[in-house]
């Protein structure tokens, strides 16, 4: 839905370009761009998703409940919420889970990355590059591409169904581990589907690397997790492109949230400036941690060790899709039965911090609990909320560059630039609509 309006006097009309409801993003939001005398004067990513007040109603709940409750913040990345909350509570209670549980968490998380990245790449983002309003319309001309995307997405969902019980709001995650571990036989049974998905993910990277990408070089700092080994997924310390590194427990000293009138999602800054989380940040800060296959494909697709063009995020998601499948197959092949599904996590009074890499970027959780395990304070910083100031920054640069285009084309391109971030608005409010105003 696009509205173009002229306000003010006729000599210097202020033009407003407005996308009332951004399509193909998760949740509800819009964009407002104001143009005065041919220059962009204001860009607002308007997030009007109604607030649901999770951090408020978590107070007074039991410390065991956040994995199930916070999963409901987002139907697209529930596992991210489950694992960030588990890590935070385990941190508060002084428990470190054994390696095999950490490994099974990685496997379930791979399922969520595969599902979420395939959804965004094929159903939400690719139609922009290939010139269709949506994937169903795209399927008329490119049935094989859409069918491949749906098969990849299904491979992720199948993995989540097995390990998590279901793909939207999995039921198998608890503090200290799982209720029930899948067996070697069950994991082996799903292996052929994942092996086929890996072949298709490789083909996907090759396909999306042929798209046309507008030039854009981001200058914001990048922030991602970095674990002791492997590509970041279910934990790690924070690292930034400025060369800083700090444990998750220090996130409140570096990341400051503030409220703006045009968004029900709080904005964030890193040491006072806008920053980026998500696939580009993860890739650029952890390129050396990719598997040889993923690294080789990234090179073949023309990516360097750092990627700062947000339009190429679709290639990076493809590389991460390959990485998630390689990792899932490795975990399945090395799995052995007969280990406990969880370890006890007895309550103790204190504060705990947890962060994991949701498909859209780092998700921070912090809780304060009392000695009976009742939650006194909860604090959640989702990836899309952190990316809002940089999304607006990208749009300011791009709208200025494309200001001479007609409003229709300008609106369309701005939408594409927003979808680069795969914004999850339901998450960020625990909130996109485009308006361009010209004067």
């Amino acid at each position: 839905m696009t509205q173009v309006s002229n306000a003010g006097d006729t000599r210097h009309p202020t033009q407003t370009l407005q996308v009332g409801m951004l399509a193909r993003v998760e949740g509800e939001g819009g964009l407002h761009v104001e143009i005065h005398d041919g220059h962009v004067t204001d860009v607002q990513l308007r997030i009007f998703e109604p607030p649901r007040f999770y951090e408020a109603f978590l107070r007074g709940r039991s410390y065991t409940e956040p994995p199930d409750i916070t999963a409901r913040i987002c139907g697209i990345c529930p596992v991210a919420y489950q694992f960030s909350s588990c890590l935070a509570m385990e941190d508060a209670c002084g428990v470190t889970v054994p390696d095999h549980i950490r490994t099974m968490r990685r496997l379930l998380y791979c399922g969520e990355w595969i599902e979420s990245h395939a959804l965004h790449m094929f159903l939400l983002h690719a139609p922009d590059f290939l010139g269709y309003p949506g994937a169903v319309e795209m399927a008329a001309d490119h049935p094989d591409v859409v069918a491949m995307g749906l098969r990849l997405k299904k491979a992720g969902n199948d993995l989540m169904d097995l390990v998590g019980g279901r793909s939207v709001h999995p039921i198998n995650v608890r503090l200290g581990g799982f209720y029930h571990l899948p067996t070697v036989a069950e994991l082996r049974a799903i292996r052929p589907r994942l092996a086929q998905a890996l072949d298709e993910a490789v083909a996907t990277v090759r396909l999306v690397s042929t798209f046309d990408f507008p030039e854009l070089e981001q200058t914001y700092p990048y922030l991602a997790l970095r674990p002791e080994v492997g590509y970041p997924l279910e934990g790690g310390d924070v690292v930034t492109s400025e060369g800083d590194a700090w444990p998750v427990q220090e996130f409140r000293e570096h990341i400051v949230e503030y409220q703006v009138e045009h968004s029900t999602a709080l904005h964030s800054t890193l040491d006072g400036q806008p920053y980026v989380v998500g696939p580009l940040a993860r890739y650029s800060l952890n390129h050396d941690r990719l598997s040889p296959l993923a690294r080789e494909l990234a090179h073949e697709a023309g990516l360097g060790t750092v990627c700062r063009n947000p339009f190429k995020s679709i290639i990076v998601r493809g590389v991460e899709l390959v990485e998630a499948l390689v990792e899932a197959l490795r975990i399945i092949d090395e799995w052995v039965d007969g280990r406990p599904a969880s370890v006890p996590v007895p309550a103790r009074a204190g504060q705990g911090f947890g962060a994991t890499e949701a498909p859209r970027g780092v998700l921070f959780h912090r809780y304060v609990i009392d000695d009976a395990g009742i939650i006194e304070d909860a604090h959640i910083v989702p990836p899309t909320a952190q990316n809002q100031p940089s999304i607006e920054g990208d749009l300011r640069v791009l709208a200025e560059r494309w200001v001479a285009l007609g409003d229709h084309d300008l609106t369309h391109r701005c939408e594409l630039a927003i979808r680069n971030y795969d914004p999850c608005i339901s998450c960020s409010v625990h909130a996109v609509d485009v308006t361009v105003s010209r004067s």
Partner: protein
């Protein structure tokens, strides 16, 4: 309800709407990977902003509505959607019972606002989160947090074929027996809401060795009091027995009543202890 044949028009026009929610129920439609293109061939997807920027103007034959009503603007919007829609189906716990955000119904929303936001005055929020049926007539309510995609496909098939959807209203226990699960409550003493919760998930939690937590909401005529007495007798403190009903379907009438009964028990116990 599902009469007035949609068959009359070549392809029924389908619209998908979102209110306060997590997107998970809409995602369940996109999760019908093997069936999605078939569904897209059997209906005309006229409005589905999460999937396409293409918009076909109303009126619509079928509106699928996700999410609960939590703001004054949403009350107005659901009225307009009802007027444009021949059949309106709600998807999931938020749209059907108010969702987890209905926990505000038991608290002071002004305090909630100030806990999360530095400038609560920027927000327009209602004191209560309410289901779609509190505002307009609803033709069918599909349960679940999230909905089950098999049940969603059944509802869509029923719409296209102009028949009633076959969605059972009995409890999770029936599904558990059918799967051959050992009862987690009887055998392991694990608290389980299966006896009072509507089927539809396939008894997922007990199959994974955990108790049901009621995400499909109350079954038809549940005996929640009898279940709570069992839970308390097995050692569950009343404040926990109160919380187990206050999750994703907290405002569904039988669950609301039972949680308030337990709340009174907590208050009485508190007085008895001289607190």
């Amino acid at each position: 309800m599902f009469d007035e044949s949609l068959k009359s028009s070549a392809l029924p026009k389908l619209a998908v709407w979102k209110f306060a929610s997590c997107d998970g129920c809409q995602l369940s439609l996109l999760n019908c990977e093997e069936e999605l293109l078939t569904v897209a061939g059997a209906v005309s997807i006229a409005y589905f902003p999460e999937a396409t920027r293409g918009v076909v103007e109303g009126p619509y034959d079928v509106s699928l509505v996700e999410g609960s009503v939590t703001s004054p603007e949403e009350i107005e919007r659901i009225g307009q959607i009802r007027e444009m829609s021949k059949t309106l189906v709600t998807l999931g716990a938020c749209a059907t019972s108010g969702g987890i955000q209905a926990l505000r119904n038991f608290a002071d929303v002004a305090e909630f606002r100030s806990i999360v936001y530095a400038h609560p005055e920027y927000l327009s929020t209602l004191a209560r989160s309410t289901p779609i049926s509190a505002h307009v007539s609803v033709d069918f309510e599909l349960r679940g947090c999230p909905i089950d995609k098999g049940q969603l496909l059944e509802v869509l098939a029923a719409l296209v074929e102009s028949r009633r959807p076959r969605i059972p209203t009995y409890s999770v226990c029936a599904e558990c027996k059918r799967r051959g699960n050992v009862c987690v409550m009887v055998a392991n003493g694990t608290p389980c809401l299966g006896p009072v919760t509507q089927a539809g998930c396939g008894a997922l939690c007990p199959t994974y060795e955990r108790g049901c937590y009621g995400c499909f909401g109350p079954q038809n005529t549940p005996n929640t009091a009898a279940l709570s007495d069992q839970l308390v007798a097995a050692g569950m403190p009343p404040e926990v027995a109160m919380r187990v009903y206050r999750t994703f379907n907290a405002a569904a009438e039988p669950f609301r009543r039972e949680s308030e009964r337990q709340e009174r028990a907590v208050a009485v116990a508190g007085k008895g202890a001289g607190r």
